[in-house]
């Protein structure tokens, strides 16, 4: 009906532009929510927008028994979608193509759920119109002109002429619907191999209830992991609210673990951030990333002590402590230092995420860290510019000003020349070439000791050369 006619009938009609982007975004959200039926869900955007509506793929393999069979699962989906305010139809079939055909063309008036019998795809599709095989309108009208009105007409036709006329897509769709060719559906959310799921008869909302549910789920999950010899590196808890929205919390661990109390403690830091809304009906715990973790071996002599210590329940491993700090304070908050082979002071050290310290070090720490030269205990990440009075060309400073305080140099040591690394010269994206630096250790009249450097050299006889600049790079203790 044109808009003008509609307005003539009902003058108070409100008009809104169709917002496909928002529709799609909502579809993605709904598909996410549907993951509480099956982890393998994806929005279906191949369907024609408007007439046929959007769709959501659900790979229900191995999931239907949780809801009492395929029909019950579909009814549940349809009921819930109706509750959310959508008119929904659902069908299950052996292949995605057949399911699509069944849900779009196979349902008779008044039916909302269709379960096709396993192995009978051919029979079901035979009677449906050709458009049920997901063809574009042009292909459909072309087939119509040829008198191929039903999907079944296409099954046994010679393929060559069809491909020549309509292209590869026609045969591909037929094959996909009949299961001759696989059609992978890429899941919207990462699929965790190890997961535990719990639904509630009544929606829950209290923090304690969530904690208790997570505790029980973790127990199940850790048993699974134990059997598989895996440990959690990333864990996600997804709470499905009754209104079709999700709340996710995720934690990470610094080393693989399947210690349920520890994981629960990490999760519990985030329980406050869960907004239960109208209530949570399902919680799914999934290990997004796992690493191999072999069973802990208790040595015979150590075993009694371990048991005794466990009774004290006061000790926990360093990794567990680091996990808790990381999950609360932030991902980059915990680090350790490691040496790096570079003479440039700020590059001689790198920050690594916390891991267990290397057990057997090959060489002495003195060698590994190039620490045979005087190095300050605290180093500024950005060298601080200072004003200096120093005899040229390369004498140590006599006087320097840093942070508006003048320091008179009493003792000095150096210079130690550190040249730029040859591969760094004239690098792309840099305004200027790195300059050689002359480092000095100086002590002022108060006894405070500083590490200064002059960037660049004084060029004699070249007036155009830039004047070297001085920086303070570190403080000795």
């Amino acid at each position: 009906m044109p808009l003008t006619d509609a307005r003539a009938l009902e003058p108070a009609l409100q008009i809104h532009e169709a917002d496909h982007a928002a529709d799609l975004a909502y579809l993605v959200r709904l598909a996410g929510w549907c993951s509480h039926y099956s982890p393998w869900t994806a929005p279906d955007v191949t369907g024609e927008v408007g007439e046929n509506g959007f769709g959501i793929w659900l790979d229900s393999t191995g999931c239907d028994h949780l809801f009492g069979g395929e029909e019950a699962l579909l009814s549940s989906v349809v009921t819930r979608m109706n509750d959310f305010g959508f008119r929904a139809l659902a069908a299950v079939a052996d292949t995605p193509g057949a399911a699509w055909a069944a849900v779009h063309y196979g349902l008779s008036q008044g039916e909302t759920v269709l379960v096709t019998k396993s192995g009978k795809v051919r029979d079901v599709l035979r009677r449906l119109p050709a458009a049920a095989l997901r063809f574009s309108p042009e292909v459909c009208s072309g087939l119509d002109r040829l008198g191929l009105r039903h999907a079944g007409d296409l099954f046994d036709l010679p393929r060559g002429p069809l491909v020549a006329r309509f292209g590869d897509i026609l045969i591909r769709r037929v094959d996909q619907a009949l299961g001759r060719k696989s059609e992978p559906i890429s899941p919207q959310n990462p699929i965790s191999r190890y997961r535990a799921r719990m639904s509630f008869a009544e929606p829950i909302g209290k923090g304690e209830d969530v904690a208790e549910a997570c505790r029980q789920l973790l127990k199940t999950l850790c048993q699974q992991l134990d059997q598989a010899g895996q440990g959690v590196r990333q864990l996600e808890a997804v709470c499905y609210r009754v209104d079709g929205s999700l709340a996710r919390i995720a934690i990470g661990t610094s080393r693989a673990t399947r210690n349920a109390p520890h994981l629960l403690r990490l999760l519990s830091e985030h329980f406050d951030s869960i907004d239960a809304g109208f209530g949570i009906e399902t919680i799914v715990l999934g290990a997004l990333r796992t690493d191999q973790l072999v069973a802990d071996q208790l040595s015979l002599s150590e075993a009694p002590r371990r048991v005794f210590r466990r009774s004290q329940a006061a000790t926990e491993s360093m990794a567990a402590l680091v996990d808790r700090v990381t999950n609360r304070v932030g991902h980059n908050s915990v680090h350790r230092l490691a040496p790096k082979s570079s003479y440039v002071p700020e590059r001689a050290m790198q920050r690594l995420p916390y891991t267990e310290p290397p057990a057997n070090k090959q060489s002495d720490s003195l060698e590994r860290w190039f620490a045979n030269r005087p190095r300050p205990l605290s180093l500024f990440d950005m060298p601080q510019p200072i004003e200096v009075v120093a005899p040229i060309p390369d004498d140590p400073p006599v006087l320097f000003r840093w942070r508006r305080v003048v320091h008179r140099v009493v003792v000095s040591g150096g210079p130690e020349r550190i040249g730029p690394e040859w591969w760094d010269a004239g690098g792309s994206g840099r305004k200027e070439d790195p300059l050689p630096r002359d480092y000095y250790q100086v002590e002022d009249a108060d006894g405070d000791r500083f590490w200064l450097y002059r960037s660049g050299l004084y060029q004699t006889g070249d007036a155009s050369a830039p004047t070297p600049r001085w920086y303070l790079h570190g403080l000795f203790s």
Partner: protein, 276 residues
């Protein structure tokens, strides 16, 4: 004459009283004893008899909170003390991610006898997070030492840290560094606002003419500003990185008190003698 009569009786009474006092003292001592003493953890010695004997415990008690203030020198003092622990367990170093004295430089830790890879750094923006991380670290009992570079720790927060240190059996250092020496001197005169067992103020000291040839040597003015059951004192202290025992084998580093000229800082001398 009267004195003669009284004296024997008095002596008997006195010995009685002394015994009672002794038992009472030991009971009170046991009740008040630090957790580390009760658990038989040896105090952390400085490797110098003058410094050790200035503290009533013969060293810094472990499983307790200590406060170290000062300039960049305080960081060196802390690192040197940490290396004296000589524990294979990791050291937790909590510091603000916006620190105006720069970041801890790995190669610079070597002269203080500390393995940089032994330290686990926790950097946070918020003070509450740092205090929380410190407390968690102390309670877990995993690290050998927890160093917290946090300024202006409240009385309540420090009390919490002290209790956590006792519960976990881990030593805690509150490190508060400032850039200039002037602020540092102001801090040493301030009254105690934390419940730390000891409070130290460490700053650099201008060297004498004779010692000026070595700009690398660490020499600090170390002031014991507050000590429970001890007398505040001040020394000129040097850190010796590589000591050697009688057999010439390298041992861990140690502190040593440097003799001072009597004309300078003369007010410190009598106390020094008293302590030793």
């Amino acid at each position: 004459m009267g004195q003669c009569l009284v004296f024997p009786a008095n002596q008997e009474q006195a010995s009685d009283r002394a015994a009672v006092l002794r038992t009472l003292r030991s009971e009170i001592g046991a009740a008040e004893a630090l957790r580390s003493v009760r658990h038989g953890m040896a105090p952390l010695g400085f490797g110098d008899s003058i410094l050790d004997s200035a503290l009533p415990w013969g060293g810094l008690p472990q499983a307790a909170l200590h406060e170290i203030n000062g300039t960049a020198a305080a960081m060196g003092f802390t690192a040197a003390l940490a290396s004296r622990l000589a524990s294979p367990k990791p050291i937790l170093w909590c510091r603000s991610s916006r620190n105006e004295t720069g970041s801890v430089y790995g190669p610079g830790l070597i002269p203080f006898g500390l393995d940089p890879e032994q330290i686990v750094f926790i950097e946070a923006k918020k003070k509450q997070d740092l205090l929380w991380a410190m407390e968690e670290g102390l309670r877990s009992g995993q690290p050998a030492l927890v160093i917290g570079e946090i300024d202006a720790v409240s009385l309540v927060a420090s009390r919490r840290l002290q209790l956590a240190a006792e519960a976990g059996g881990v030593t805690a250092f509150l490190l508060n560094t400032v850039v200039t020496k002037r602020i540092c001197e102001k801090a040493s005169t301030k009254s105690a606002t934390t419940v730390a067992l000891t409070r130290w103020v460490v700053s650099s000291e201008a060297k004498d003419e004779s010692q000026r040839n070595d700009a690398r040597r660490s020499q600090w003015r170390v002031t014991l500003a507050h000590c429970r059951g001890g007398i505040p004192q001040s020394w000129l202290v040097e850190w010796n990185h590589e000591g050697s025992d009688a057999g010439g084998k390298a041992t861990q580093g140690y502190f040593s008190v440097v003799a001072e000229f009597l004309d300078r800082q003369s007010e410190h001398r009598p106390r020094l003698q008293e302590a030793s």
